[in-house]
Amino acid sequence: MVAAIVNTLVQGVLIGGLYALFALGLSLSVGVMRAVNVAHGDFIVVVSYLLLSIATGFGLNIFLALALVLPVAFLGGFALQRYLLQRVSGKAVLAPLLVTFGLAIIIQNGLLEGYGADPRVLPGGALETKVVSIFGMQLGLMPLVTLAAAIVLIFALDRLLYKSQVGALIRAVSDDPGAASLIGLSPNQVYGIAMGIVGMTVAVAACFMGLRSNFDPASGPGNLLIAFESVVLGGLGSLWGTLAGGVVLGVAQGVGGQIDFAWQTLAGHIVFLAVLAVRPQGLFPRY
């Protein structure tokens, strides 16, 4: 009984690592650009397809494919912000929501046209089936690597934002774009860089999502919902809080699934609403 509970909790924490990866980019774009990107989940899916095409088309290891995609994802994020999202930001609250909603529809239908509706999975090789024994528990290596990737990525982003000059620029523009422009910063350029970084986190999330679960052109909104709940649960602007939010969701789903399989997803949403009711600022708010 105790072993089953511990196992449920551990599995919840491990899936929470994947959820944190989904949420990191959204956390950054909400924290810096103050905008919710409704197409965030679809961006993850489209990059998963890109990774699939590169890995299968050129016979590359998936992590090598990811290394190739990272700079492309940065440029994609930068271009998206500079040439599309920036045109509508600051004009009206609804405008960025509508534009990204439109993007989500275009991506979903484009992927359906190009790849069909069949679920796909990224080729993980030996990593997919490897199991390690920790304190007598048999744990998949892939979920452990996913959690480790989330922790490393959060640590790196935290250092970038709070210990580097680029991070200081991003925080200055996020704080007060008007004042920042009067000390020589171009907010549009800085937002572009921030969105480029978001693009790189999306690529990492896409890789691990595709390795750990099936995906199809309609998977985006589900990813967005998980990312959104993780960000809000963790507290806006807090990267480590986002990890905590992901873990809370993962554990809630695990516990719900043990009670009744149909409760798995619902339990996550119920916990999200409960935390929101008691602590609307999230668990570890930074702003």
Binding site: Q165, A168, L169, R171, A172, D175, D176, G178, A179, A180, S181, L182, I183, G184, L185, S186, R286, Y287
Partner: protein, 237 residues
């Protein structure tokens, strides 16, 4: 050649005309005081010079180049620094980070040079002892110092001061005046909007009075303050 030459400058917001055909010049290394009743267009003038707003009509020449349509960050990189009437620190960043980002981007300096410039600006403004504190926790005097410090870090040729003595005690104003004096000695020309006249009188070599978006008076501070039109409009005498 004048450092700044403003010609027939106008700015309207919808049907409201705030600056009306203003002509104004500023010499190199001059300290120009600007006074006027509320709504005279003083802060709008700063917003036009620093690039927050684009002029509706007219030109702003800075070192012989019309910068009226240039972006705010480009004007800053040309050496135009400003402070705000209500301080606008990056509240969650440390005092040092606030100044460093200005030195790197406004000053166009390398990382090492920017750190040195930031440290010098912190020393000059007396903020060095508080460099690690979040800017949001500073007192009003220190926030005003930070505004000055951040503007200094871009190594300005032209510094726009917007009521830096407002809300301070006399002793605090004197402390800031001393900093402004030192900035001026380093070679910056200054345009200074201020309601605290005794502070302005100590430093300004010339005074202009704005009224209804135009120039009411321009000249020696004592002569301008003695002008009956200025007394009627601004001093209410």
């Amino acid at each position: 050649m004048n450092l700044v030459e403003i010609r027939r400058l106008s700015k309207s917001f919808g049907g409201l005309s705030v600056i009306n055909g203003l002509d104004l010049q500023l010499g190199e290394n001059e300290i120009l005081g600007v006074i006027g009743p509320n709504g005279a267009g003083k802060t709008t003038l700063f917003n036009l010079i620093s690039g927050v707003h684009a002029p509706s009509e007219g030109s702003i020449f800075y070192r012989g180049v019309d910068i009226g349509r240039a972006q705010a960050w480009d004007r800053c990189r040309l050496g135009i620094g400003r402070t705000f009437q209500v301080p606008r620190p990056y509240a969650r960043m440390s005092v040092y980070e606030n100044v460093l980002v200005a030195a790197v981007h406004g000053g166009g300096l390398s990382s090492r040079a920017a750190r040195k410039e930031a440290e010098q600006a912190l020393d000059l403004t007396g903020l060095a002892r508080r460099y690690a504190e979040p800017a949001g926790q500073l007192t009003l005097l220190d926030l005003k110092r930070l505004e000055l410090c951040r503007a200094l870090a871009i190594r300005p040729r032209l510094l726009l001061l917007d009521e830096i003595a407002g809300g301070l005690t006399d002793a605090e104003s004197l402390a800031l005046l001393d900093i402004v004096r030192q900035v001026h000695r380093r070679g910056a020309a200054i345009i200074w909007i201020e309601h605290v006249l005794h502070a302005l009188r100590r430093l300004a070599s010339r005074l202009v009075v704005l009224h209804g978006g135009g120039l009411l008076a321009d000249g020696d501070p004592e002569a301008v303050l003695a002008d009956p039109r200025v007394k009627a409009v601004y001093l209410g005498e």
